[in-house]
């Protein structure tokens, strides 16, 4: 019991030391890009100068990692005070251009938070941005996904519902107000840590 509270206290102390240290500027990673978006127009990273950008790679045919990350991000936004919330931009880069069109992304992301922007483009352009950010991803064989195909008619959607599964990095890239990568958040990063680091970045 006492040991547990000591450990908790020490962990809290180390966490606060970590927070005081701030996020370093990361070199050899990141950089500007220009991609097609769920807004129906080209979006550049430079469009968000002055804001903290939280960017992650994923695809909408994903049941676990991406929605969990998305929910984590939308909860983060919910809990931020309005004056900070307006200075944070979440970007979702789709690695599944075949199935994720700009309008599909728009509808999908709006459900989590209407401010989220989806980026999707040709395979080459997405590959280039992924390489800039050292974001690994790979398409897994389609045959592994589902063994049964059903032709269903859903209003406005294609009749075939097939999809790929991907393996991809789960990092959420954190960019400061000058557009430089400052670190990473993850699905499990505590809210206190994320909020504190965002506020510190916005002070710069």
């Amino acid at each position: 019991m006492i040991v547990k509270s000591i450990v908790a206290l020490i962990a809290g102390l180390l966490l606060s030391i970590n927070l005081m240290a701030g996020m370093p500027i990361l070199k050899g990673i990141g950089g500007d890009f220009s991609l097609n978006s769920s807004l129906g127009k080209q979006v550049n990273l430079t469009d968000f100068r002055g804001q903290v950008v939280l960017m992650f790679f994923g695809y909408t045919n994903c049941a676990d990692i991406c929605p969990t990350t998305m929910a984590h991000m939308s909860q983060l936004m919910d809990r931020l005070e309005p004056e900070y919330r307006s200075r944070v931009q979440v970007l979702f880069v789709s690695i599944d251009g075949d199935n994720d069109t700009p309008s599909h992304l728009n509808k999908y992301l709006a459900y989590f938070d209407p401010s989220f922007i989806g980026l999707v483009d040709t395979r080459d352009k997405i590959d280039a941005v992924a390489a800039q950010y050292h974001a690994e991803y790979a398409k897994l064989a389609q045959t592994k996904v589902t063994t049964i195909y059903k032709k269903l008619t859903l209003a406005g959607e294609s009749t075939e519902q097939e999809g790929y599964l991907f393996s991809h990095t789960a990092k959420i890239y954190v960019m400061g107000a000058q557009g430089r990568v400052r670190g990473y958040f993850y699905m499990g990063t505590p809210h206190a840590e994320m909020q504190s680091q965002i506020k510190q970045l916005l002070k710069e």
Binding site: I2, I6, L9, I10, L13, L14, I17, N18, A21, G22, M23, P24, I25, L26, K27, G28, I29, Y133, H134, A170, K171, G183, Y184, Y186, M187, G188, T189
Partner: protein, 274 residues
């Protein structure tokens, strides 16, 4: 620390906890600069043992360094030399036959004040192993480690001269930073970044014999490059380095050098937190 633990049992953890917390604050540095080896010192030491290994009939003795201690001043005055304790495992083919008995040894090395020369070596402890082991040569390893440490020191201290001396004239050079086209541009470029502080942490060093002939080696390692810029911000980079080394006349030199940026590691294990 031990005294505190005993106190803790007697006085109760609640009383000792604040003391423990203060101790942990004191012991948790943001940057472990003091934990990093002094690269120039280590380089000269590895060179010394590499040279010893090269003496006599080919690869007849080996010296595998286990630990290099912290340097201390020897003597007084401005020309004070440096003393370092070294622990190593040595094998000498002249004693007995395969398998060879090795020995655990402790040496005190006397090094010049400019850290460029080992002046003397004294064996302070010697003990023959009570087990036999296969002979493992160490000449190449020691010479290559000497090279890598000297190179790292050269980068950390913007020392163009040292860097140039470690490269073969015909060597091919690819820096991580696209701006740097040739080796000679590297140190000046680093200097132009105007860092207040900087150092590289070396990890994942792998040395393999290369196929291209005798005394060629393929070496890979990673740098975690830490710096503080003019604005007081910390900058971090992770770099993967690949070099082809050729050993000529008792010196390891670079034939090919390539650096590539990796995703910087900010907090190992963070991803696992749930």
């Amino acid at each position: 620390m031990y005294v505190l633990l005993r106190l803790g049992r007697q006085l109760g953890w609640l009383l000792v906890m604040p003391l423990l917390m203060l101790l942990i604050i004191g012991l948790t540095p943001k940057v472990q600069a003091s934990d990093l080896p002094q690269y120039d010192l280590h380089s000269v030491i590895y060179q010394w043992y590499g040279a010893l290994d090269a003496k006599g009939p080919a690869q007849s003795s080996s010296h595998h360094l286990l630990n290099i201690g912290q340097p201390r001043k020897a003597g007084s005055g401005e020309q004070a030399q440096v003393e370092v304790d070294v622990q190593l495992e040595s094998q000498d083919k002249r004693i007995g036959e395969n398998p060879y008995p090795g020995s655990y040894e402790e040496h005190v090395l006397r090094i010049s004040s400019d850290l460029k020369q080992v002046l003397a070596s004294q064996t302070t402890f010697y003990s023959i192993d009570d087990f036999d082991s296969k002979y493992r040569p160490s000449r190449a390893i020691n010479l290559i480690k000497s090279l890598v440490y000297a190179w790292t020191h050269g980068l950390d201290s913007y020392d163009s001269e040292t860097l140039e001396q470690l490269l073969l004239p015909s060597s091919k050079f690819i820096a991580a930073e696209a701006e740097v086209q040739q080796a000679a541009e590297y140190a000046p470029y680093l200097l132009s970044l105007n860092y207040l502080k900087n150092h590289r942490s070396l990890s994942k060093l792998v040395i393999e014999a290369a196929n291209e002939g005798l005394d060629n080696y393929h070496v890979t390692f990673e740098y975690q490059w830490w710096a503080v810029n003019q604005q007081g911000n910390t900058e971090l980079a992770q770099i993967a380095v690949e070099i082809q080394v050729q050993i000529i006349a008792g010196e390891a030199l670079i034939r090919f050098y390539k650096e590539v940026y990796l995703a910087p590691i900010t907090d190992a294990g963070a991803e696992v937190r749930c």
